[in-house]
């Protein structure tokens, strides 16, 4: 089997879409936060919390979509905490973000152990099942690759244009983007910058949590410690890769997921020639390389990392 055969394989394309889904949610979430001027390094922990919360909801007898909503709410709660610290108190976004990640991940491990003390093998739930889109899934190849996914994947794809529309075509989106570019101008319009920023962080964190929930409710059916495994940090790189644009974020997530799916399959080809650790390094190295190539064209939101204090001149 060589590289070309991989591309001719339906499984590769289906896997790409599957791997991309949690990245799409979380990257959009981070993008919303950063567009409002807040770097949210809590992403890794919030994804872990979302993975635990959504799974636990279903394990306790709730239904799947209820679990997704619950995960989003829990993620939003941590976003609110982040916003109180960074937006209202104007504390360092780096420090608070790391703090939120430490808190959210340790708390999700603690709660998981507390609720299920004796679980030696991770208990399982009935996760989202594959839904074959009528008619479309009958198309040869394309149908098998793109239209036999779980509902959460379709949801991830559907949410991208919604976020794009929200950010670029609605007054709220304009306020969010301006809060990250020129908060004083937003203030001059009589809009509460702090409320706009906090709202963006809460909503963005909800998205991140759903990204985490995808892992336990769609990709797998159980919660493992360390299952997020740096995906959150990769999403932060993806936001830069996407130049803070939702459509490019989708492209970035798909490209990245494609490479990830490719490395798993290339690993099987190479056999023992190249140790598996080097393949596992690829996602992280590629993120760094992508940032290097895009560093010159990266146009950060101008007020990113800058706390806004009313009445203070910048």
């Amino acid at each position: 089997m060589d590289i070309l055969e991989i591309f001719a394989n339906v499984g590769f394309w289906a896997a790409t879409l599957r791997i991309a889904s949690p990245l799409i949610f979380a990257t959009l979430g981070e993008l919303i936060c950063e567009r409002a001027g807040v770097l949210n390094l809590g992403i890794e922990g919030i994804m872990t919390m979302g993975a635990m919360a959504g799974w636990m909801w279903v394990y306790q007898g709730g239904d799947l979509w209820g679990g997704v909503l619950f995960a989003a709410c829990v993620g939003g709660a941590f976003g609110l905490l982040h916003a109180i610290f960074t937006v209202y108190f104007g504390l360092s976004q780096h420090v608070v973000g790391i703090g939120i990640t430490l808190l959210a991940s340790s708390l999700s491990f603690f709660l998981f152990r507390m609720i299920l003390p004796a679980a030696t093998t991770p208990p399982k739930i009935t996760a989202f099942q594959v839904y074959e889109v009528p008619y479309l899934s009958d198309i040869p190849f394309i149908g098998q690759a793109f239209f036999t996914q779980t509902p959460l994947t379709y949801f991830a794809l559907a949410i991208v244009p919604v976020v794009w529309y929200g950010l670029y075509r609605t007054p709220v989106g304009l306020a969010v983007r301006m809060a990250g570019e020129n908060p004083a101008a937003v203030e001059a319009q009589g809009i509460d910058v702090l409320a706009v920023r906090s709202g963006a962080v809460v909503v963005g964190s909800g998205f991140m949590a759903v990204g985490g929930a995808f892992l336990t409710m769609s990709a797998f059916d159980a919660f493992y410690f360390g299952m997020v495994n740096g995906r959150g940090w990769i999403c932060i790189a993806l936001v830069i890769f996407a130049s803070w644009r939702p459509m490019k974020a989708l492209l970035g997530a798909l490209l990245f997921a494609g490479l990830d799916a490719l490395q798993v399959r290339a690993q099987q080809i190479s056999g023992v020639v190249i140790p598996y650790q080097f393949f596992l390094m690829l996602p992280y190295l590629l993120s760094i390389v992508a940032m290097i190539f895009l560093s010159r064209s990266a146009t950060y939101p101008k007020a990113l990392l800058v706390p806004f204090r009313r009445g203070e001149r910048i």
Binding site: L41, Y88, S106, L107, R113, N229, I236, M281
Partner: protein, 349 residues
Amino acid sequence: MRFEPREHVSVLAAVVAPVAGVAAALLLCSGLILWTGESVGEAYWLLLKGAFGTKFALTETLSRATPLILTGLAAAVAFRAKFWNIGAEGQLYCGALAVTWLGTGMITLHPVLMIPLLFLVGALGGGAALLVPVILKNRLKVDEVVTTLLLNFVILLLVSYLLEGPWKDPMLMGWPQAAPIIDEGVLPQLVAKTRLHLGLIVAVAAALIVWLVMTFTVWGYEIRAVGHNAAAAAFSGIKINRTIIRTALLSGGLAGMAGVTEVAGLKGYLTLDLSPGFGYAGIAVAMLAQLHPLGILASALFLSAIYVGADSMSRGVNIPTYIADVLVATSMLAVVLSVMLARFRIRFS
């Protein structure tokens, strides 16, 4: 709601603020303990006893504090210059790699030479791990937060490869680990039959030296100036890029030394589970100490007491050990907030 800087922050307030933050965190976490159905008083008492109750517990706490002091210093130095090094975990492992490379038979010297040499290569290894992020930041303005974070994973995979491949100790079956450090390189025990080793003295000395450098030297002044106001520092003739590189090497070097204390002091050989997140915990250590090198001695001791104490507490009562990480994270956030409230006055208008 507005914040006004207080004209005068007393030394007392600067000390009371973090203590109050920690107290608030302990109070918040009692809620979790209550929910487990155990008694809060008993849980905290067991935690305290587990950390300081016996001579053995005390030495365990001190030996756990050793790497935390070093990674805490690593974070503090970097954050002072607003260089956001979140990769101390990876740099620790790079230090551990360097010390394993040199200390497992490559050369043999008298311990008096061998041990300082091991710390030197460990520091160089840790510093080298930060070279790529710092050069990318200076030359191309690539965000160091993401690069240092992602390199943690790359370095850990490199360690995993070396331990399963070329560096695997051929004499051992089972869990992959590297060959042991030769006897001349092993850090001597400070108290017989415990795990407390020379690394503690090195770490405390490092804190003192970092404090002296940061407070009384031109280098330290430049690091602080760049962190405080880079534009003003550049205007006054400080070379920003050079200062950032110097800061990064110092920061990475300190984290690398934590790798040395763990490999050559605590374990005697390199394993993949060498650090249970000392690099990330170092950030909490630094923030609890408000980035003050001497304060880090206290905050590292506090964190290690929580970790060691929680281990023993969870054997006594039915509370998962993850409570330790929850306590650390809550303390960090609470202290960041309480320190800010000590410096600013809130005005409602």
